[in-house]
Chain length 198, copies 2
Amino acid sequence: MARLPRYLRFLEELPSHADTVASDDIAAATGCTAAQVRKDLSHLGTLGTRGVGYDVAGLRELIMRQLGLADELRVAIVGAGNLGTALANYGGFAARRFHIAALYDVDTRRVGASVGSVEIRHVDQLVEDASREEFAIGIVATPADAAQEVVDRLVEGGVRSILNFAPAVVRVPESVTIRQVDLATELQILAYYRRQRA
Amino acid sequence: MARLPRYLRFLEELPSHADTVASDDIAAATGCTAAQVRKDLSHLGTLGTRGVGYDVAGLRELIMRQLGLADELRVAIVGAGNLGTALANYGGFAARRFHIAALYDVDTRRVGASVGSVEIRHVDQLVEDASREEFAIGIVATPADAAQEVVDRLVEGGVRSILNFAPAVVRVPESVTIRQVDLATELQILAYYRRQRA
DNA sequence: TAGATTGTTAATCGATTAACAATC
DNA sequence: TAGATTGTTAATCGATTAACAATC
């Protein structure tokens, strides 16, 4: 369910003295309806108390487990350009238990440099590292023309979840999940709404 | 309709000698069903010919117009860190007629430097520039704690479409459209599928 | 005419909403 | 008991699908 991450973010922002929260509040903060919230949460099990609300800590815990965030996941980023570097520094990851375990680049001059606490490694090590260090997720932040090869290497190394920022369509085996993040698409959606308004 | 950008991308990748394309082909390339494609396209008007297919050039033109991409839109990026720089260099924008018109930063030492062909300006100029240069879209690529103020300035400058990459919830007036891009959400969705598989 | 493919209908499915009984 | 809020039902809505007549 695509709304769970939003619920979770709201719950994390809640002041620590808040013990319970009502579906109404979650709805208002996340732009859903209270009925949606209740229906979604009732699928996770029953953590609500009628007349009171939902237990914040328990709900947080439950959503995290549901989203597969109970364990820290090791993430490898390929491409240490501006985008890869931005991602490696992105604060939001650690908070959700994603650990940037490695950062790769093809440029030997960049290899050995550090981004935050992560050292840049050469992409030729990727396949070997991926099998040995068991990266759960690979992020592709290379130029478009390198994307397919990088994805192939990640797959060869046993990575089965891939997030692709390169503006290129890549092929993966059935067993691998790939999500394409197209930044231009987001702008197009804005342009679309803009046009509707006009 | 969220599928139109995907159709458009496929149409743009088509070899130039392809005059017509069948709903079946669009469907296969974009992961939709042929019936969906036909229904979507029939809403745009009738460009298809029974027994033949859709006129590629006309369809491209029509989708672009529908998405509000007929005119070049001027985009301002606020935050010239790694993410802002990556966005300014992102090849996919120009192809969709988004023109990066300006790039802002708060750090006076960076002001005056160039990213690609765009010079970095100081964020104090933002409001004035926005009204005068009529930016259609503003992109927020600052740290989370600066996001609200940057958004306020964009709104003050008359920008009514905003894409926010900062991991922060910001408030805008009703008349302004804001899209929140949360990179961690994308990872969470991957983690969710990963868990389903296991 | 025969083959291909659209545009559209009707059936199906799933998600959303409204409402309210259950219950703290 | 009175007020609040969940969990769930039934009604509604919209989107998807399958199928096929229309037509190139």
